[in-house]
Amino acid sequence: MVSTSIGVGLAVGLYGTSFGALAVAAGLSIAQTQVLSLLMFSGGSQFAVAGVIAASGPAGIIPAILSAWLLGIRNGFYALRLNGVLGVTGVFKLVASQLTIDESNAVSAAQDNTADSKRGFWITGLAVFVFWNLFTLIGALLGSVMGDPSVWGLDAAAAAAFLGLVWPRLKGLQSNLIALLSAVFTLALTPMLPSGIPVIVGAPIAVGVIYLLKRTKLGPRLKAGDHA
């Protein structure tokens, strides 16, 4: 589990190079790019900021905030789950909040006992934080030199990283169906909605459809997937 955590941290961190380069290319300063990785620390939201600023310039100041905020909702649900697992209080609650992201929650949720769930969260969260910020700086510095991050396949690395995070959770008909529906709805919404929004609309719709399907004759067959 420790090697998974460090591996996730390194893989996601490397992708920070891409964020750093893209953010600088969008018109953010190196300092602004670095502060995003330190304070916002949520890949999807940060890419939304870079994307909106790149597309809209100064007119994107407010839309970028909204996109980042909406994309961050899922962290709230991770936090809800993790609050029950971690049992943190006081200042640790603030630190845990900051480290609550896709990857730390995913590794934590993949463990089969509470002790490993806690360790998985902290080690992954800290590893991603360190590597993400380190490689953000490298990416921002390389930004102008590196040109297009896709030449280096960093966009494909991001896709594979998300696949790797959802993979352990695809056990049983229900979770497979949720994943499939969510991907289909999100892609269908993509041409209609601003960048970043289809994910946060498509995924909840998919979950809603699953709850409706469970009231039909299919319900008993989906029941087996009801684990947290």
Partner: protein, 105 residues
Amino acid sequence: MPSYWITVLVGSLAVFSWKILGYLIPGRIANHREVVIFAGKLTVALLAALTAVETLVSGQAIVLDARIAAIGVAAILFWRKLPFIVVVAVAALVAALLRHFLGWV
């Protein structure tokens, strides 16, 4: 340029608001079985949606490019239980090589 600091700082606070909110909601609600199950479903849905978007979307368009081949290779390697970091590195390599040698976008 300084105006982008508004986006950076307010945006960071906005994202943090969700994170801290989840920890401030009382434990008896957070531990409620239905809430945990719902959060689990939403996690699968969001990660799958992000995978789809990272693989197939450019801006607001669906695009078929070297990322498809890379994610296909990644899926096979995850199925064969190779380590996460290895799979991600191979995926990047596949996309980079296809672009470089075959001129795929």
